[in-house]
Amino acid sequence: MSNNNVSMRSDLARVRGLGPAHDGVGHWWAQRLTALALVPLILWFVASIASLAGADHATVADWIAQPIPAMLLVLLVVATFHHAQLGLQVVIEDYVHVEALKIALILAVKGLSVLLAVAALFSVLRIFSWAS
């Protein structure tokens, strides 16, 4: 054993570094990366919808149908729903202590996040297809 402390953990478990939750720092790191990506994306989005306030359907659709707004909207939707799902999972894990309910709620949030993200992405692509 390379460790002086008496440990129940095998060397393999220590090297893998995944800990008792089996996913290591993956969740934590993904939450930070999506946060970082959302800083410029959300500032761009709020500025864009502020200048589109009160605009009619054709104006908004023409804006979404441009390549750069369409691409940034795709990135915004993906980062937003990934970040929201990760955050809600932590809230559920903190407050729901009935194991079956906790797992059910986490799965429901994951499913709903994917569903809403796909609906939003499909809409952006559909509007984009009108331009070509």
Partner: protein, 139 residues
């Protein structure tokens, strides 16, 4: 709520050091730092609910002018504007305080004075950015 950091009271001389406890919320005097912390979580949950508005807006725009007009009418009503105001306040708070968290994640700004100062910067940034966004949108 104290507006500036206080040094913690000295422990009784020969007290046995108790196990750390979560705050008893009934008798807990909130500080700026703890209020901002729970507000970060609350605004995060609110923003997750707010994604429904984003999806509704995109789906309606993709469906056609009639559906789009319905969304515009709801968002333009006083109740819709109130919800959008709550959404912008939540968004700018979560954004500013989230950047504060990213600095902490990098190991910066943990001193008590710095944590209070950055907390007040978050409060100010939330107000300024919300006013700017609405001034822009209504202009």
């Amino acid at each position: 709520m104290p507006l500036a950091p206080e040094s913690p009271p000295a422990p009784p001389a020969q007290a046995v050091r108790p196990r750390p406890l979560s705050p008893h919320l009934q008798v807990y005097r909130p500080q700026l730092t703890s209020v901002l912390s729970i507000t970060h979580r609350a605004t995060g949950v609110a923003l997750a609910a707010g994604t429904l508005l984003l999806v509704w807006w995109l789906v309606a725009t993709a469906t056609g002018p009639e559906q789009f007009v319905t969304v515009q009418a709801v968002m333009g009503s006083w109740l819709g504007k109130l919800v959008l105001l709550g959404w912008t306040v939540s968004l700018f708070f979560h954004l500013a305080n989230g950047i504060r968290h990213l600095f902490w994640d990098a190991g910066l700004g943990f001193e008590l004075k710095t944590a209070y100062a950055s907390g007040w910067v978050v409060v100010a940034a939330t107000i300024v950015l919300t006013v700017l966004a609405w001034a822009w949108g209504l202009a």
